[in-house]
Assembly symmetry: C2
Homo-oligomer: 429 residues x 2
């Protein structure tokens, strides 16, 4: 007799439609790989009358979440409503009802993942969240399983599609920030209020999830240093290119001797680095493990079908675990407390663009300010610009953030320095 | 009481040393993720007296495989001797003894994988072979699990590090084939007898394994069309670059309406394709799934520690399965028979370089030969060369292989065409 697994969906937006679509068009593959037939028994929606891009039996729709969560026949709850308040209470209750939970909710996993995973463990269940980071790219499972023989020392991710699209269009089309943003909004890659993406918070949430897995620790959102790309100047992308670099918004996690360091900021990376070739709305995660060396995972970081692909992969794994009576799945993550190293204790190379008076002694002043703080310069470009001013672009060697900041204060105080235009961190490796 | 899992290693060469190294330096991580302590009980070697790069208790070494395979305490056998004859009988016997088997042996899995996996299934055990393709890059597990919600329609891999190193050096250093090969040999990226790599057979074995998983079918080595890069001319890399292409040895698997198509050949791919940026000895697998879209996995395709990383990841999974009493692991692959579409029934775009007399009417002759077979041209470069000859480089649109071959026969018969220098397939997408 064929085994049937009944599932409930909370939410039928972009990702929910993708999930139903995949369960339909890949029905045979999914059934065979899961080893059971999947029956979507109920779906939570806000408005059952709304027109939807997928065919769905109206009888499955409900506006009452508890009708789904408390249904004893439903073994798996897929949470796709997003946000944290309602989602948190639904997931919590579903676990208490001994359901397996699958979620694409990065905010929820970043803010309450530790607590919810512990609850799941206590109930002999588990939460699966491959879709919460990197859309369709397999990231969570490779981190947990395939790279399990490694100490991960560093991860760098392009994990926000909106900003990567904007940076790519600026770089390839020489579009201004505002033009590129408008293009992203027109294509549906940026929301009408894009602040969460542009200011780096979306990437920071995802970094919490990835770093927690990579370094086996709980990572609070407050531990992440965050700088976005809002208002980035096209000149900097141009100069970076001239110097052999590409500007990307990177989410970076490192395990140092003194603790873990977590940051999201626009970064100049060498144009030959694999991450530099990640274009448009695509995402990628680059990892360094002490056994494997450097690996990278690349693909679509969002979208209905890609994110649905990750949700359904989780569903297949849940059902295999149910079939094999592995009650709580594999409890692979043992969280430990780790010290977070604050940004000012890290070291970076820096890119700096500034306006100076075009007069003798300016360079000497700059050079002395850097030398006093033991900041050494790697590359310098000076361009003449209008009205007796020179535009100077320089890249430092790796220095302590603290020293660089001290040098910067001194430079700002020099009479010949008119303006610090921009400042980015540089990663050579 | 702490659970101890005893394992036996067959072979202590490059990969075996990496495995012991990882079990040593990442002891705590591996133990915690596996949920058991791992004890290497015995190791098969040819010469116990040989000096080795890892510290190993000489008492563990044996020259008798059966002492390991028949040891009732040993639950997991890791086969790292390579080759097919001895390895086949050891793995077969290990499965019959109800051991779990981990192998890095691509030849064995390509030639006898189906049969051995069936035997494993019958014994309630399983074979793990993440290390058999792509060294340290997670490929097998993502294909089986993370992309399980997809129909894979196409895969393209750079899965031979030797040839990718040679092509990269030719392209970046403008080194001749022979020089680049010698460089690869000096760096240890090519063997003294590199025929297996250069002629594409190594990649074809790996393609059998990947395509079998991607398309859920058994793929025989004979089903793969194989062309290598032996003696590739630097001029073609140069012209390809001028036209916006990069030359890579690609292993390509496709599921078409008429069946599956499998081929390994030097290929011109667009220089903006993610695979074009895979440099030196690195490997990558690019996949298209009907839900996820395009994803790529990138990393080190060989080496002691990277390949060891994959072996130990498999070991962690085996031990988790033992701990959870999932006897045979997850039986995720249901092989079905699929028709193999022969090369001459496929379609490709072609790159052609030829020498013609520098005289009127040559182009008309070429154009007519192509037009007669409905082959249309996409791009043409003509260079004057010495002694009244012209060098012509052209790229066709996608055409049936059969039509192209007919056109080529006609072109060869033209009196003004002196020589067909080279011929490659082109992938635009």
């Amino acid at each position: 007799m064929e085994r049937v697994i009944k599932i409930g969906l909370l939410g039928l937006g972009t990702v929910g439609s993708g999930v139903l679509n995949i369960l339909d068009i890949n029905h045979d593959e999914v059934t065979s790989r899961a080893g059971a037939r999947i029956e979507v028994k109920k779906i939570l929606v806000r408005d059952p009358a709304k027109q939807r891009p997928v065919n769905v039996d109206p009888q499955l729709l409900t506006v009452d979440p508890w009708e789904i969560i408390r249904d004893p026949e439903i073994e798996v709850i897929i949470e796709l409503i997003g946000g944290t308040e309602a989602a948190h209470s639904y997931v919590e209750e579903a676990l208490k009802e001994k359901k397996y939970v699958i979620t694409a909710n990065k905010d929820l996993m970043a803010l309450a993942g530790g607590e919810l995973l512990a609850l799941a463990r206590g109930m002999g269940r588990n939460i699966y969240y491959e879709a919460s980071v990197g859309g369709g790219i397999p990231l969570i499972r490779p981190l947990k399983h395939s790279l399990g023989a490694n100490k991960i020392t560093r991860l760098m991710g392009i994990i926000n599609g909106t900003t990567n699209y904007i940076l790519t269009r600026m770089s390839l089309d020489k579009a201004d920030f505002a033009v590129a943003l408008r293009g992203a909004q027109e294509k549906g890659f940026a929301e009408q209020d894009p602040a969460n993406d542009l200011e780096g918070r979306d990437a920071a949430y995802k970094l919490c999830i990835l770093a927690g897995l990579a370094f086996n620790c709980r990572v609070g959102f407050d531990s992440v240093y965050v700088e976005g790309i809002d208002g980035l100047n096209l000149r900097d992308i141009f100069y970076a290119g001239e110097l052999g670099f590409t500007v990307k918004l990177l989410a970076i996690g490192e395990e140092l001797e003194s603790g873990i360091a977590l940051r999201v900021h626009p970064t100049l990376i060498s144009s030959s680095h694999p991450l530099a070739g990640v274009l448009d709305e695509n995402n990628a995660l680059y990892l360094v493990g002490n056994a494997v060396g450097e690996v990278m995972f690349y693909g679509p970081g969002a979208g209905s079908m890609p994110t649905g692909s990750s949700v359904v992969a989780d569903l297949i794994e849940v059902i295999r675990n149910i079939n094999h009576q592995v009650e709580n799945g594999v409890m692979e993550t043992s969280f430990v407390e780790k010290r977070v190293v604050p940004m000012e204790q890290l070291s970076s190379a820096f890119y700096l663009r500034l306006q100076a008076l075009d007069q003798p002694g300016v360079f000497a002043g700059l050079a002395n300010a850097f030398a006093d703080e033991a900041v050494s310069l790697d590359r310098v470009i000076q361009k003449r610009s209008a009205e007796g001013k020179a535009e100077i672009v320089l890249i430092t060697h790796v220095v302590a953030e603290k020293n660089f900041n001290h040098a910067l204060e001194k430079i700002k105080a020099l009479p010949a320095i008119k303006k610090i235009n921009s400042l980015f961190r540089v990663i050579e490796g």
